[in-house]
Every structure is written in C-alpha cells, then in structure tokens.
C-alpha cells in the first residue's frame, strides 16, 4: 500500500507510451500530482520535453510533437480540451483522465475531434497527491471558494463531497482494494461519505473486480472534529515542523521570506523520494535532527576536504575528483538545503518562544494539565504572536470546557486585551461549538492520565520521553483499539452490517480517511506503526499496513483558516458560547468510566460569566440533560469494553 509507488507507476506508464518527442498537458488539479511523483529528469528520460497547462492559450503549434494530456474529468478541463482538439496544436493526442469518465463526456470529446488526432483515451486513477508512501492528500485545502462544509458542520458541500468520493475511489482503485467501510458514528459527514463511496463501488462493479482477500481491507472514515487538538499543537518532528512553521505545498517549501536566504534556496523541494537525508529523518524529533544534520555536514566536510585543491596532487586524485564531482555537488546542494531549513526552524522556535509554548501546550493536551497562571502569562506576553495565543486559549478551552468555563472566559478577555482581534477570539467558541466535548464521541484528554500509559501500543514508539512529544494523536488510540479488535460497533459502526464478528477480525490493510484534513503528526504515527509492522516484532500492529489520507494536510494556521471560513456559512449561533452543562458535577463525571477528573469543581453558574444569551437558558439546560444521557450511555459502553 505505497501510494507514492502507485502514482509513480501510473505516471511512468503514461509518459512512456508513444516513443517520440512529447508534450505533457496538465490542468490545475493534476499538476500537483504529477509534480509530486515525477521529477523533471524522469520526464526528460521519457522524452517529455515540455510541460504545460491545458488552459494556456499561448501555446505554440508544433505538429511534430505528440501530446499527452493528464486531466481531471472536470468541466473546466473538458472545455479546455475541447478547444484544444478543435484546433490541435500537436500531432497526436493521448488522453488520460484521473477518474471515471462518463459516457457523455466521451461523446462530447469525440464530437470535437474533427482531425481524428486522439489515439488513446484511458482512465488512470492517480487522482490524489501521494505525499508519503503512507500518506495521501486530496488537496482540498480550505478556502472560501472551495468550502468543505455546507451550511452546518454536519453537512458536506456537494462539490467537496464529490471530490472526496472521487479521491478515495481513486486511492482504492490504484491499490486494488475493495474495502468494507467503517465510520465515526458521531459524524454525519463520515457516514454520508461512506454511503457515497459504497454506492460508487457498487455502481462501478466492473472496475472493482478484484480477487477477494480473506479479511477484506478496511476503510475507516474519521472526522477532524473528533480530534481538534492535534492540529493546534506545536510540532517537534522534522516534516511536521517544516509544515507547521514554513508550510509544505506539494513537496515544495517556500523559503523566500527567510532573511538572508541564498537565491537558489528561495524554493526548495522536500520529498522523501528525491532526498535521502529527508527520507531518513523526516520523522526525527528536532533534537535528533540536529545531531543527524551535524554528522551529515561533517561527512560533507570530509568529502570536501578530499576535494580540497591541496589534496589533488596526482592524476589519480584528479580522476577521482572528476568522477565524484557531480555526486559531490549534489550532496553539497542537499546539505545546504537542510542546513537552511533547520536554521530557519530554530530561528523561528527561538523567536516565537515555541519551547515555552510547547511545554504548556503539551500539558494542556495530555493528562497532566496545565496551570491557568502559566497560560495567562503566555497570553499576556507581548513577545508571543497572536496566532499562538489564540491556539493556546483554544487548547485551554477544549481541555477545560466543562470544568473551568469561567477561566476560559477570562482568558478570552485577556487575549482580547493582548492584541488578538475580536474576530479571532470568536473562533474559540466556534471551535467549542463544532468540535467541543459535546460533539466528540471520545474523550481526548483523560485516557492518558488515568489509564496507565503502559497500555499504549505506542509506548515503544515514543522512545525517550520528551517533554514536547508527550501528546500522541487520538488516532493512535483508535488504531490501537482496532488492532486489538476493540474498536466498538457503537463508536465506529460498519456501513452495511458485516458479519457478527466483523469487528474482531483484524484487517490486513487499513485505509484511514480524515474528513477535514489530517496532520503530519498523525502521518508519523501511521508511519511508525507501519515500520513496526514490517519489522516483524510481536506487536499489536504486526502484519497490518496502514494508509492515512485526508481532504488536506493541516498545520495549525490552515486548520484555523478552515474553521474560520467554515463558520461564515454556519448559522450565527456558532459564534456564541456553547451552553455549559449543568451536569458536570464531579460525582457524575466519575461514573463515566472515570473519564474526567474534575480539578476545580463545577463552575458556580450555568453559563460562562461572559455569556450574553441568557434567553437560551432553558434550551441549554435541556441540551445539557440530553448530553448527560448520551454520556452515561457512552460511559457504560466503555466500561463494557474493558476486558
């Protein structure tokens, strides 16, 4: 289940067909896919000498070239292609589409092919960006013009839904998997997506005609709203850090804002396939990375010492030099790239006081909790950027939503006093409304504190306990349950009622799809579990291969952007503080499987002190009661789940 290889195979096959000079035409959708999985030299070696956009009107006519088009079957691409075929610029056309073509689309294209230049029409299901072998993205980054959510956090935007269905279908086809589907029960979107995919699989039975495996592969659809914490944290591993602090777009990192950057390093590529150092260390923590980089630089230095003019004394020296020179230069380029990247990362860490911040964040995200005063101090600190303040308050709000609502309110006022705009401050409530504890079916904070960490399947992965790496994404817990056959039908039901013991069977292949975007932190968990599985140790993950995907890959700012843009379409009430429940009495909480250890006792009021909506009181109480019942039920389930 290596998506990078799968897409690479497609691309290679595509560009190798007519053996002559070729032009490759792409559209906006396929460009990132191709650029992620094919290098310029690969294209050149397949005689692709020109790559262009299909909607570029200024292409010149070249009858001696043949043309490969790799396009998404979308309206814009069809239009551009029709225009192209009406007045063909190249000798022959080989059309490849990234997804299923409708009959009418074929007829439409056939109609305009007056010159009979089209030689091939094929569907190649490379319809997603393979970021890592075990991580794919549908590139549906949150933006106002491409929303993910409809008019409520439970409803898909129809286009986004179609895109997600297409993307996942393509993943399944490119890996030849016909999965059973499970989804996160609390998320209506997950269910909707699952139903649509199931429908697509059934309607295209001819394509999904694979040999059956004993235990069918599993498609597990999760919702970002089930774990809003992970994308809000500072990251401390290489790839995740780069994405968090600098942003990785299609394997490229824009360094043009870095002070004193050399011109050739303004934009660097950062993919595991082309960069051995990155391949080896993209999961390394910042500290390990430093050591690795140091030895990398040293090895380069010893090389360059060998290339010192003074050491070239004889013809043999010279010969060696000549032979090794290109390799040496390549190495040099790579070294300087990573040095620049890591240098910039540490500069940002220093500048934004990320270490202090990270410590508090980890405290909030894990069971240990954090002192209100340390949070207040950070929020009041003028040296810290507003984005980080907002993140911190959000984390605090998520953590102590029920137990210390008045502290959340006071933090929001403090934040407003310290430079965070009102618009942004509202997002705290938006987040609580769409991903607060009432919306989540599982508790994110307690398990680690109460149930010993020894239970974690990932304890081996953590290695040396690192203060900044205490938090493990919730996904790891879900997966652990899955491996142990303890992922309950009540929380993650099957789409169609599979056999009675379906939940106990351990699937060999698991594809996890995160609606609302995944993160590199989660990708790291998956990658480590995969490593563990292949290393053959007697671990829970043995023999299981995981693949993670999402509508996009988030860092904290893109996650906040998504929340922000999504909220504009939601009903106004989303900006209002969520009804605090009157039911968070300590006694009840303890009954729920020991989920919440209440620290400060219940807040005196039903509402936050800052809450204006007193008129909502009755309704709020009703909600609270409903919520209580739900929680009790869940708690019972969970207790039953204990072995």
């Amino acid at each position: 289940m290596d998506v990078v290889k799968a897409v690479e195979t497609y691309i290679t096959k595509m560009v190798s067909t007519p053996s002559s000079m070729k032009v490759l035409l792409l559209d906006n959708h396929t460009t990132p896919i191709v650029s992620l999985s094919a290098t310029q030299s690969i294209l050149l070696s397949h005689q692709v000498y020109l790559t262009d956009k299909i909607d570029n009107k200024k292409r010149e006519r070249m009858a001696h070239m043949k043309c490969i088009c790799f396009l998404q079957p979308s309206e814009e691409s069809f239009e551009a292609l029709e225009a192209e075929l009406r007045e063909p610029k190249y000798g022959e056309y080989y059309l490849y589409f990234s997804n299923i073509l409708s009959k009418t689309a074929i007829e439409r294209l056939a109609d305009v092919d007056e010159y009979e230049v089209v030689r091939e029409v094929q569907e190649y299901f490379a319809d997603y960006s393979p970021v890592l072998p075990c991580l794919f993205s549908l590139n549906n980054a949150p933006a106002a013009e491409r929303p993910l959510y409809g008019n409520s956090p439970n409803v898909w935007d129809p286009k986004a839904l179609e895109r997600a269905v297409q993307g996942i279908t393509a993943v399944l086809l490119s890996l030849k998997k016909k999965p059973v589907i499970r989804y996160e029960k609390s998320s209506p979107m997950a269910k909707k997506l699952g139903v649509e995919i199931q429908h697509r699989i059934q309607s295209e039975a001819q394509l999904f005609d694979f040999r059956l495996t004993q235990v069918p592969p599993l498609l597990l659809i999760l919702d970002r709203r089930g774990d809003p914490v992970t994308p809000l944290l500072s990251q401390w591993t290489y790839q995740a850090m780069v994405h968090e602090l600098l942003g990785v777009q299609n394997g490229r990192v824009d360094l043009s804002l870095v002070p004193d950057i050399r011109p050739e390093l303004k934009e660097v590529t950062l993919t595991t396939t082309t960069d051995p150092f990155f391949q080896a260390h993209h999961l390394a923590t910042f500290g390990d990375l430093g050591t690795a980089l140091k030895s990398y630089v040293q090895s380069y230095q010893s090389h360059s010492l060998a290339h010192n003019p003074s050491t070239i004394n004889s013809i043999t020296d010279m010969k060696r030099f000549v032979e090794e020179y290109p390799e040496f230069r390549k190495l040099g380029g790579n070294v300087s790239k990573h040095v620049a990247l890591v240098g910039e990362l540490s500069r940002l860490v220093e500048r934004d006081k990320l270490l202090e911040l990270g410590e508090v964040e980890q405290g909030l995200a894990t069971g240990s909790g954090a002192d209100l005063r340390s949070v207040q101090a950070l929020v009041a600190n003028p040296a810290i950027q507003t984005l980080y303040k907002l993140r911190l308050v959000m984390l605090y709000a998520l953590r102590y939503q029920k137990t210390q609502p008045q502290n959340v309110a006071s933090l929001i006022t403090l934040m407003l006093e310290n430079g965070v705009s009102r618009e942004d401050a509202k997002l705290v409530y938006v987040l609580l409304n769409i991903a607060g504890s009432d919306q989540r079916q599982e508790d994110l904070f307690s398990a680690e504190s109460l149930l010993a960490k020894g239970r974690s399947a990932l304890k081996g992965l953590k290695g040396v306990e690192n203060v900044y790496m205490q938090h493990t994404p919730h996904l790891s817990q879900t997966l652990e349950n899955l491996f142990k056959g303890r992922l309950r039908d009540t929380t993650h039901p099957f789409l169609d009622s599979a056999g009675p013991n379906a939940g106990l069977q351990r699937p060999g292949d698991v594809i996890i799809f995160m609606i609302g975007g995944t993160t590199y932190a989660e990708a790291r968990v998956v990658a480590l579990l995969n490593q563990e599985a292949t290393s053959g140790g007697p671990t829970a993950a043995a023999g299981t291969r995981l693949l993670l995907g999402g509508t996009c890959i988030h860092n904290s700012s893109s996650f906040l952007d998504m929340v922000r843009t999504a909220a504009t379409n939601f009903p106004e009430s989303v900006y209002e503080p969520p009804p605090g429940s009157a039911t968070n009495a300590p006694s009840l909480n303890l009954n729920l499987g020991g989920v919440n250890v209440s620290l400060g006792g219940a807040a005196p009021g039903v509402y936050r002190t800052s809450g204006e909506g007193v008129s909502l009181q009755t309704e709020g109480i009703k909600d609270g009661v409903r919520n209580l019942l739900g929680k009790v039920k869940q708690g019972v389930d969970r207790i039953a789940a204990q072995p």
Binding site: T9, T12, M21, Y49, A63, E114, G508
Partner: protein, 787 residues
C-alpha cells in the same frame, strides 16, 4: 512431460526424429543422462524461478515490463523467421559462427595455459550456435519420454561432446561443425547413421569441409561425450541451481542496477531451462524469444563485442563475493550447456514474468493500479459523429483543392498561363475596383483616369470573369439579390460600406466587416493564400485594398511573384467563417506530412542513444571479464573506442539540436533546451562509469608479467597508446566543461582547482603522446627486425 503447448513444434520433432533414427543405436547411453538429470534440477529451479519472478515483479514492475516490451517489439519479430524456417536457419547459422571462430582462434592460440582462459573464449564461440540448444532439448525431451529410441538428443549430445574443451581451436571448429553436420546429415545423407559416435563425428568434416583446421581435433571429443557428460552433469546442475538460489535473493536490490542484464544474471546459471519450460505452459510464443538474443548477436557478428556477451553474463553473477567461487565449477562442466541454455532461458524467464500475472497474493505485494481503456468507446463515438455530414465535408475539401489549384498554381503551371495572367495577376479579387497605380495616377488627367479605370475594368474583366467562372464552376454562388444581410452576423449589406462577398467554398454571401463585440466576436470571412510547392496554407489578415499601393523596387522587379507580408491579402481567397475548419484540416494535414529538420535530427539523436544503451551492458560485462583476466583484449578496447565515438557523436547531435534557430523563449526554444538537458543527464549517467572502468584494466596491464603487454603492443601499439590517452582526453574535455560551469556559477575556488588540474592533465597528455611516438618508432624498428 508431454505438454500440449508443444504441438506447434511437432514439426521439429518429426524432423529430428527421422534424422535421429540414423544415429539411433549410438545414443541411448548418453541421451538419458541429460534428460534424467534435468527434472530434479528443474524442480528446484522452478522454485527459485517463481521466487525471483515475484520479487522482480514487486520490485520493478515497470522494468520487467519494459524489458518484455523490448523483447517483443525490438527483436522478436526480426528473429522469428530464423527459428521458424528450418532450412533457412541452417544456412544462416553456418556462416555466422565461421568468422567468429576465425578471429577467436587466432587470439587464443598463442595462449599457453588452455585450461582457465578458454572458458570464456568458449562461451564466446558457442554464442552464435546457442540458438539451437534450448530448442533441441526442449523439443527433444518429450520425445524421449514418449518414444523409446529418443532420437532428438542425438543432436544435442554431439554438440556437447564437441564443445568439451580439448583446446581452444578445436572447440571452435567443433561447435560450429556439429550444427552444420546435424543438418547436413539430415539433408544430405540420411543413411549415414553409424553405430558409434566416433564415426558420426568423423564424417562431420565431410559435411563441412571448409573447416579443415578442425580436422585433427575430431578424435578426442568423440571419446568424451559418453564419459564426462553423464557423471558431470548432475554436479553441474547442482552447482548451477545453487548459484541460482544465491542469485535470486540478490536480485531485488540489484534489479534496477542490472536492468538489462537483469534476467540474465539471475538465470544465467541454470541450464535446466528446457525442463522448466516443460513445467510451465506458456511457451510457444516465448520459445521464439528465447532465441532472440543469441541470434541477434549472430546477426551482429561483424561486431565482435556482441557475441562476447554471454561469458561475462555468467560471471556477472558474482560482483558480490559469494559467487566468485561458482565460475570454476562451471569451467569444469561442459561449457556449451551453460552459456547457451542459460542465455536463452534468461530471456524466457523475463518474458514469462511479464507475460502472465504471477504472484499469488502476498502481504507485501503491491499490484499495479487499475486503469481502464476507453479508447474503443471514443473511437466508436467519433466514427459515429464523423459520419454525420461526411459527404458535405469531403465535397468542401475537394473544392478547396480545386481552388488552390486555380489560384495558386505550381510555378511550372504558372509559366504556361503566364501570358494571359500576368497583366492582371494582381487584380483577381472581384470586389476590387480601384486597381490603379499611384504613379499612373500622378501623370494622368482626370479624363485619362476615368478612361483608365474603364479600360482596366474592361481588360481585367476578361480574366476576372474567367476566374470567376472557374470559381463558380467549382462552387455554385449564391444569388446576390437573394441576400440582404450577412447570415452570420446579421449586418445588413450596403453597396459601399458593407459589400457582399462570396465564400469560395460554400458559395454563401457573407460580409467582411472587422470584429465588433458582441455581434461579431470573429470576422465572418477570412482570406487565405496557399503555396502548392510547399503545401503551406496560410491565413492572411484583412487589408483594405485602396487600389493604390507603394511600389517598392524589389516588388516591381519580381512582378508580384513574391508579395510582401502586408500585401499578401491581395491574393487571398475568401472563405466564410464556417468553412474555416475545412481549411484548418487541410493545413493540419500538410504540417503532419512535413518533418522539420529538428525532428529528423532528433530521431538520429534518439536512435544513437538507443544504440549506446544496447552496447553499454555488453561492454560492462566485457570489462568485468577483463578485470579477472588481467589482460585487455582488442575487442574490449575496440568496443570502448566505439562507445566513446558514439558518445561524442551523441554530444554533437545534442548541441546541434540546441543550436537550431528558434525564437528565444518560445516553446521550441524550451524543447531544444530540454533535449540538451536530457543529453547531459544521459552523458553524466553513462560516460562517467565508462571512465571508471579502464582502471582495473590498466592496473591489470601494469601488474601482469612483462611478456603479455609486450605481446599486446606488438599486436597493436596504437591501441595501447590510445587506451592510455583516451581517458585523459575525455577528462580534459570534461574538465573544460567544469571550468565553464564553475565560471558560470562564479565558484572561484573550484575554478582554481579545476584549472590547475586541467593544466596538469594537458601536460600528461603531451608526455604520453611524445612517449607514444618514440615507442611507435621503436616498435616499428623491432618489427622490421623480426621480419
């Protein structure tokens, strides 16, 4: 063992059968040996094969596929006839070994120790013969199991026997001779079936008298076949299968490296392919391919490198230490078997891997993604849509052709028509009244002018009418009176401001007004000119024909034959917007037919690259065998030289392509740049390793006892010098490019180093050249003295 897929080969079987009958009695003691020894080994090997097959398909699906494609397309078709037509093969095979054998024997003769060195030599010699081997055994063995007398093996054992190393020269002759004889006996003297082997061998020379030198060596091998073949073979198979085992786990990581050697390296050590083939069904097709590489090399035989391929192949197993030990046992076993069968089997394995979908489901296995062909649907629906209006379209196309004939005749035709055409050659357009020359205007009075107008009208009217009539014959024109507004843009016509124009293709009346949004996003009609000699059709912009134009001297001189860019429209033929696709299609077709210089150059460039890519692995194997042998052979240096020449030519091609004129910044410019980049990458990838290789060779030459290099020098002093010089020269060239690069990148420290090295290397070249001259002269003296 009898397998249905073999049915097509019954022809061979029966032939062999009848032929073999003559030898019947002599065989049984030999024949069973190979047959029996094989199945066991076949089993074990079969296992490793499937293993490696899977691992390969996992590792480099694309690779395997590429290879198989290459096999299928590249040579398969070429070779097929060879293996299919029996009589042809015999006649072809005979000559091919001959030259080889001649050259080879001359080399190997002077060598004192026959035992170690002949092994590779032998392989070489077998090479051209080998196509026969796999087929013999494969075809024959079923026969053995079914028919007791087992005649086909009769043809194999002699060849084994013959190939046993007595001495290199005998080897050479005998390998080629049994083949010749096998056939010869069948064709010439079926009665010649003797009871023992030795007579059979002894009559060989009769059949192939031209190999007189082989005559005296006939005896020794005749004794051998019965003895060594059966006891040795089991051990040999054992060794081989084990080596196959070793090699198969090695494969996955190596798969890409060895790419072209790929299949070969893993299976080179397995002579049991025939047996395997029996075990696996899909042979008929691949059987043919199995013979491709050897027979290709036979076809290449003027080129001495190609046949030399197999020996390093067998030995190329062991760049890794573990396998270094395996070759010795090889040399002990009948060597014929190893190279020939292995070679063919390698190919069959590769093709088989890609030919079927192997792998049972395995956890680590990644299948190739689904893809779906929609081409058929597309073509069908295109055909459907093209049917509509097809008649109309072809009619318009024919009209267009006629129009071009009429308006833009070929130069030859024009001359004939010149007398009546010339005076009005510029007045063709029916709508242009005002065809007066400015100069005329100046010196004419008003009356003259008017008369002039009338006259020109009248005089031009004749030809104009002719043309009009011709045009109307091609296309019936719409009646002027019937139309009051343009059918395309609905602008109403006016005798002065908006004149009526006939489309010369469909005959409709349209306007010629300029673009005006939103009614007229593009003009309703356009003009085109054509050039029949080049077939180019060009659209020309609308101009306003004032009837008055500058008369540039050049233009006047050429009598309007070459119109300047802005005057082209005067000759333009008008068609309407809706007929434009007809024109474009014609234009497009014309462009397809003509190949620009660029693409011709490019084709040469690519075919050269392919040649180099084919040659490289062969050469590298040569180098590996050389490094063991400690002595460079002339064919190695020749191959190297050839390769370097090819590289140089490749480079010049790339540079020429880059230098083709094109507009800077245009797509063509980008493409030419990209081609150059590709060439650079290719050179970097393939020329650097080439330079690394001579090292062991040179070292070997230096360390070996003085006698050998001296001998070498006498053979060809120039090559020795050239060999020393070549890498230096290349490095000089390379350094020069590096210097330039460093300059471009402004890396001054690097530059300094590079420059000093360049100086040094040039000095070294000078020195060697001087030395070489001395040596050459002394060598000449020496030779003259010995003579």
């Amino acid at each position: 063992m009898e397998n249905p897929p073999y049915v097509p080969y019954q022809a061979y079987k029966s032939k062999r059968h009848s032929r073999g009958l003559s030898n019947q009695q002599s065989i049984p003691n030999i024949a069973p040996a190979p047959v029996q020894s094989r199945p066991g080994a076949a089993l074990s090997n079969g296992h490793t094969y499937s293993e490696s097959a899977v691992s390969q398909s996992v590792d480099g699906v694309a690779d395997a596929e590429k290879q198989s494609i290459a096999m299928l397309n590249g040579r398969g078709t070429l070779q097929r006839p060879v293996s299919m037509i029996e009589t042809f093969t015999t006649s072809r095979r005979e000559p091919s070994p001959a030259p080889q054998h001649v050259t080879r024997t001359s080399i190997s003769k002077p060598l004192p120790p026959p035992a170690p060195i002949p092994v590779p030599e032998l392989h070489n010699l077998d090479q051209p013969v080998s196509p026969l081997e796999p087929r013999f055994t494969a075809v024959s063995s079923p026969a053995v199991s079914s028919a007791a007398p087992s005649p086909p093996p009769a043809s194999t054992p002699p060849s084994h026997a013959a190939s046993l190393p007595s001495s290199p020269s005998s080897q050479a002759s005998q390998i080629s001779s049994p083949k010749a004889n096998g056939k010869a006996i069948a064709q010439l003297s079926p009665i010649a079936g003797p009871s023992t082997l030795s007579p059979a061998l002894s009559d060989r020379p009769l059949a192939s008298p031209r190999k007189s030198s082989t005559f005296r060596h006939v005896r020794p091998p005749s004794a051998r076949p019965s003895a060594p073949s059966s006891p040795l073979r089991p051990t040999s198979t054992h060794v081989r299968s084990s080596s196959a085992m070793v090699s198969s786990p090695l494969r996955p990581p190596d798969a890409r490296l060895h790419d072209s050697v790929n299949g070969v390296s893993s299976t080179a050590s397995t002579p049991n392919m025939p047996a395997l083939e029996r075990a696996l069904p899909p042979i008929p097709a691949f059987e043919l391919h199995s013979q491709t590489p050897p027979s290709r090399s036979a076809a290449h035989s003027p080129n001495p490198v190609a046949p030399a391929g197999p020996p390093p192949r067998t030995s190329s197993l062991g760049p890794t230490g573990t396998q270094q030990h395996i070759p010795p046992p090889h040399s002990a076993t009948p060597p014929v078997l190893t190279p020939s069968t292995s070679n063919s089997s390698a190919v069959t394995v590769v093709s088989r891997v890609s030919g079927r979908s192997p792998a049972p489901y395995r956890p680590g296995f990644q299948p190739k993604g689904v893809y779906r062909q929609r081409t058929d649907e597309f073509i069908e629906s295109r055909a459907h849509s093209r049917d509509v209006g097809k008649i109309e379209r072809t009619r318009l196309e024919r009209r267009l052709e006629k129009l071009i004939q009429l308006h833009f005749p070929l130069p030859g035709q024009r001359k004939e028509e010149a007398p009546q055409q010339r005076p009005t050659s510029q007045n063709r357009r029916a709508s242009s009244f005002w065809d007066l020359d400015f100069s005329d205007l100046k010196n004419k009075s008003a009356g003259d002018l008017w008369r002039g107008v009338l006259q020109t009208q009248a005089s031009s009217q004749g030809t104009k009418n002719d043309i009009r009539a011709a045009e109307q014959k091609i296309t019936p024109w719409e009646d002027d009176a019937a139309v009051s507004q343009c059918p395309l843009c609905t602008a109403s016509f006016h005798p002065l401001t908006n004149r009526k124009h006939h489309c010369r293709l469909c005959g409709r009346i349209v306007c010629s007004l300029p673009v005006k949004y939103p009614q007229r996003p593009e003009t309703c009609s356009l003009l085109f000119v054509a050039d029949q000699s080049t077939g180019r059709i060009e659209e020309v912009g609308e101009g306003v024909d004032y009837g008055v134009r500058r008369r540039t001297p050049s233009n006047a001189g050429k009598k309007g034959e070459v119109l300047s860019e802005e005057e082209k429209f005067l000759k333009g033929v008008r068609i309407c917007r809706e007929c434009r696709p007809v024109l474009l299609r014609q234009q497009y077709r014309q462009e397809l037919v003509s190949t620009p210089l660029f693409s011709r150059l490019y084709e040469a460039f690519i075919s050269l690259e392919k040649e180099i890519e084919e040659e490289l692995p062969v050469f590298q194997e040569l180098m590996i065998s050389l490094s063991k042998q400690e002595r460079p052979t002339p064919e190695a240096s020749a191959a190297r030289k050839r390769l370097l020449e090819a590289f140089a030519q490749y480079d010049t091609f790339a540079k020429r392509i880059r230098k083709l004129p094109c507009a800077p910044g245009s797509s063509q410019d980008r493409i030419q740049n990209a081609v150059l980049t590709r060439a650079n990458i290719f050179l970097q990838k393939h020329m650097f390793p080439l330079q690394a290789l001579p090292k062991p060779k040179k070292a070997g030459g230096a360390t070996s006892p003085g006698a050998v290099p001296q001998e070498d020098q006498i053979i060809d002093p120039d090559s020795e010098v050239a060999r020393v010089l070549q890498p230096l020269l290349e490095q000089e060239a390379l350094l020069e490019t590096f210097v330039e690069e460093a300059k471009a990148h402004r890396k001054f420290e690097d530059l300094k180093t590079l420059k000093s090295s360049l100086r040094e290397i040039r000095a070294e070249i000078e020195r060697i050249l001087a030395n070489a001259e001395e040596q050459a002269s002394s060598g000449r003296r020496a030779r003259t003295s010995t003579a």
